[in-house]
């Protein structure tokens, strides 16, 4: 039955994430972007929300994808980069908890119960052909295990990840392999800085014949893992879009030009209306895809289309945010230019960064 009502549990998690975003994530976002790293304390406080712990739980929660989307949307409202930092661990934990063997869950998920943050990523996108590293990631049989060759692009917090879920083409189609970051012949390239989301220190990972045992092969296809990553990305874009809209709304009422607030001119007011329309639509198409993934074997179409809509519209909203602030939109004293860079970055990250 069609319903737009969140459960009580989802509402509670939403409220906690919202509070954290407003009190801690948003105030720290600019400094983290400038420094190109998150303060340790902020990562720890984000971890304290308990999202990854619960994602790693063997006991299945009700609607885990909806819960994640709701929480990530709120955190992204504070800082999209911080939301992505968490999303990597969440994606890894959900994939292993829901699809992994018992041995894999024991081996890789115990760490998620600790009080110290655990970093992990789902690395699905091969490094870009245009960017020098271009090579398809392939895995072939080697003795009792597998040998992986290739490169993955712009993994968030790559240097801090202990574990990665790496996708690779095999003779049986695309499969996922759990790879320890310390593995021999796995090389993390230096982070060179990126347009936006700078605190994530995104870096390429090169797999130069990395060998893994057979029991690190994740059972099942990668469909759900990819759908989940797109749903998480949609949630982050939705939170970012709403942040821009809500920040811009009071400004256009205050900013006086030619004797009246710019918000009283249709050319400006209609932009705000469009931002509101699209931010709401991103949120609900994302939650719709999440609800579908939670009750169906896959949600390939809705997840991909939600992410596509979110990418296009969040960029447009962030772009208009800069425009409506004029010069203030361009200077780094205000968050608009950062949000614009972040929106541009996130909207090309489909399947790329293990979000």
């Amino acid at each position: 039955m069609i319903s737009f009502a969140l459960t009580e549990e989802q509402t509670l998690v939403q409220a906690a994430a919202k509070q954290f975003a407003a009190d801690e994530a948003r105030p720290a976002a600019r400094a983290a972007d400038e420094a190109g790293e998150f303060p340790e304390m902020l990562l720890r406080r984000a971890w304290d929300l308990g999202l990854a712990k619960s994602a790693a739980d063997a006991e299945p929660m009700d609607q885990p994808s909806v819960l994640n989307a709701v929480a990530l949307g709120e955190i992204a409202h504070g800082d999209a980069a911080l939301a992505v930092a968490l999303a990597g661990a969440l994606g890894f934990a959900r994939a292993v908890a829901s699809q992994g063997t018992e041995a894999q869950r024991e081996r890789h998920l115990a760490a998620f119960q600790s009080d110290a943050p655990v970093f992990a990523a789902v690395a699905t996108r091969d490094a870009g052909w245009f960017c020098g590293q271009g090579r398809a990631t392939r895995a072939g049989r080697a003795g009792n295990g597998w040998r992986i060759e290739g490169a993955k692009a712009l993994v968030p917090l790559a240097a801090r990840c202990d574990r990665l879920l790496v996708t690779a083409e095999t003779e049986e189609g695309v499969r996922g392999f759990i790879v320890e970051a310390k593995s021999p012949r796995l090389r993390i390239e230096p982070a060179r800085g990126t347009l936006g989301m700078r605190a994530l220190q995104m870096a390429d990972i090169v797999l130069d014949g990395v060998e893994v045992t057979d029991d690190e092969l994740l059972p099942g296809a990668m469909r759900r893992v990819i759908d989940a990553s797109r749903i998480a990305l949609t949630a982050v874009l939705g939170g970012l879009a709403r942040a821009v809209y809500e920040y811009t709304l009071p400004y256009v009422k205050e900013r006086v030009v030619h004797g009246e607030p710019i918000g009283r001119k249709q050319a400006v007011a209609f932009k705000l209306a469009d931002m509101h329309i699209a931010a709401n639509a991103i949120r609900w198409t994302g939650l719709r895809a999440a609800a579908e993934l939670d009750s169906n074997p896959e949600a390939a179409r809705t997840a991909r289309l939600a992410q596509r809509y979110a990418a296009e519209q969040a960029l447009k909203i962030a772009d208009e945010g800069v425009q409506l602030f004029g010069g203030y939109g361009f200077i780094r004293e205000y968050p608009l230019e950062m949000w614009y860079r972040n929106a541009r970055s996130l909207s090309v990250l489909d399947g790329l960064a293990g979000v």
Binding site: G263, A281, A291
Partner: protein
């Protein structure tokens, strides 16, 4: 719990509606050169098939709700290009239900009621209404004078709910009146010659010394009458979803003949420009579908939201324009031919960003609410 899963009863009703839309589609072009012809209450193919709206009334407790399902039924009607069975329900019915007294609603509830709002000087601005209703105290009647244009159901309706300016010793302002067909002084003009939706009955109405009894005065406030738009606007967006669904399906079907199919995992460098553009529209279609259902879900649970209907309508109107324009781009010359349904979809779909409030009117409503401006402060 957030859910987008249709119930078994939802699916049964919608499956029948889809089958009926397919049957109706063979009649979709019959009105293109015969605009004076009225839509039949039902096409012959309806014989022996259940009335989906009656199915809904019967199964309502097992469905996602009458309002959500009604929007989805209209979506299916418009997918076929013309309804197999006429709904016999118009905006005037909703307005009467909301603004009329119980005895007034009882009297006309089973009639098709058009709404007479728009005049030649404008439809978006009811304050510009020139039609008058003058109180004749001696007769105890209202005398209506004026002209309305672009009235949907003008010819086929049983009655019209007309908006007029009061001329009364103690009262002023705008109010609504029920005028039944056959009332002396009410005349229906010639059908408008339109770019599209030619099967829809659209004509002007003239009121000349048209007398109605005091009982016919719908004395609810104007605001409550205009609130009927909050219920109908997401339905217009559902019409847009129907026309654009058919257009997208047709376009993908032609592309499949040359080996182009949607692939949800391809990036922009791995696909054709045609597929990439359609995929962007598919994304917008799904977003609009979600927001139309959101508006209807809110309406079912709390009554129509202040701006949710306008959000759905604005999205539907824009979607209709973008999808039909782009499908012709992708199809090229075959999109122009009367032999295919796309040129008709292009002409039909353009109305959705105009009637029942233009896209600009929806944005005004939304902007005033989110910015906290009165109509005076933002106009």
């Amino acid at each position: 719990m957030v859910s987008f899963a249709l119930t078994r009863a939802d699916r049964a009703i919608l499956k029948e509606a889809k089958a009926q839309a397919d049957l109706a589609s063979r009649h979709a072009r019959e009105f293109e050169h015969d605009e004076d012809r009225m839509l039949p209450h039902a096409f012959p193919e309806a014989e022996g098939r259940p009335d989906t709206r009656a199915m809904l009334a019967h199964l309502e407790p097992e469905t996602s709700g009458a309002k959500i399902l009604t929007a989805l039924l209209y979506l299916e009607d418009w997918r076929g290009g013309v309804p197999l069975r006429e709904a016999r329900y118009s905006l005037g019915n909703t307005a009467l239900r909301i603004a009329g007294a119980p005895e007034q609603y009882e009297r006309w509830r089973n009639r098709t009621i058009a709404i007479g709002l728009t005049e030649s000087v404008g439809g978006s601005d009811p304050a510009s209404t020139r039609t008058t209703a003058t109180w004749d105290a001696a007769a105890g009647e209202w005398v209506i004078e004026g002209e309305k244009i672009f009235i949907t159901y003008a010819e086929s309706c049983d009655a019209v709910l007309v908006l007029a300016r009061l001329v009364h010793p103690e009262r002023r302002g705008l109010s609504a009146f029920m005028v039944e067909k056959g009332t002396p002084g009410l005349s229906v003009g010639r059908q408008f010659r339109k770019m599209g939706i030619r099967f829809e009955d659209t004509a002007p109405l003239a009121f000349s010394a048209c007398r109605v009894p005091a009982f016919n005065h719908i004395d609810g406030d104007l605001k409550s009458m205009l609130r009927s738009f909050s219920e109908s606007r997401p339905v217009v967006a559902a019409y847009a979803l129907g026309v654009t669904r058919a257009a997208l399906d047709f376009t993908w079907g032609r592309l499949a003949e040359i080996g182009i199919a949607p692939d949800y995992d391809q990036g922009p460098t791995e696909t054709t420009a045609a597929a990439d553009r359609l995929m962007s529209l598919e994304a917008e279609w799904e977003a609009t579908w979600t927001v139309v259902l959101q508006a209807k879900w809110i309406e079912q649970n709390e009554g129509p939201g202040k701006i949710d209907s306008s959000m759905a309508k604005a999205m539907g109107g824009g979607l209709a324009r973008r999808v039909t324009q782009t499908c012709i781009d992708v199809l090229g010359v075959c999109g122009l031919s009367d032999a295919y349904p796309i040129e008709k979809a292009f002409r039909d779909a353009r109305i959705f960003d105009i009637y029942e409030g233009t896209g600009e009117v929806q944005r005004l409503i939304i902007a005033r609410e989110i910015l906290g401006y009165s109509p005076k402060e933002l106009n």
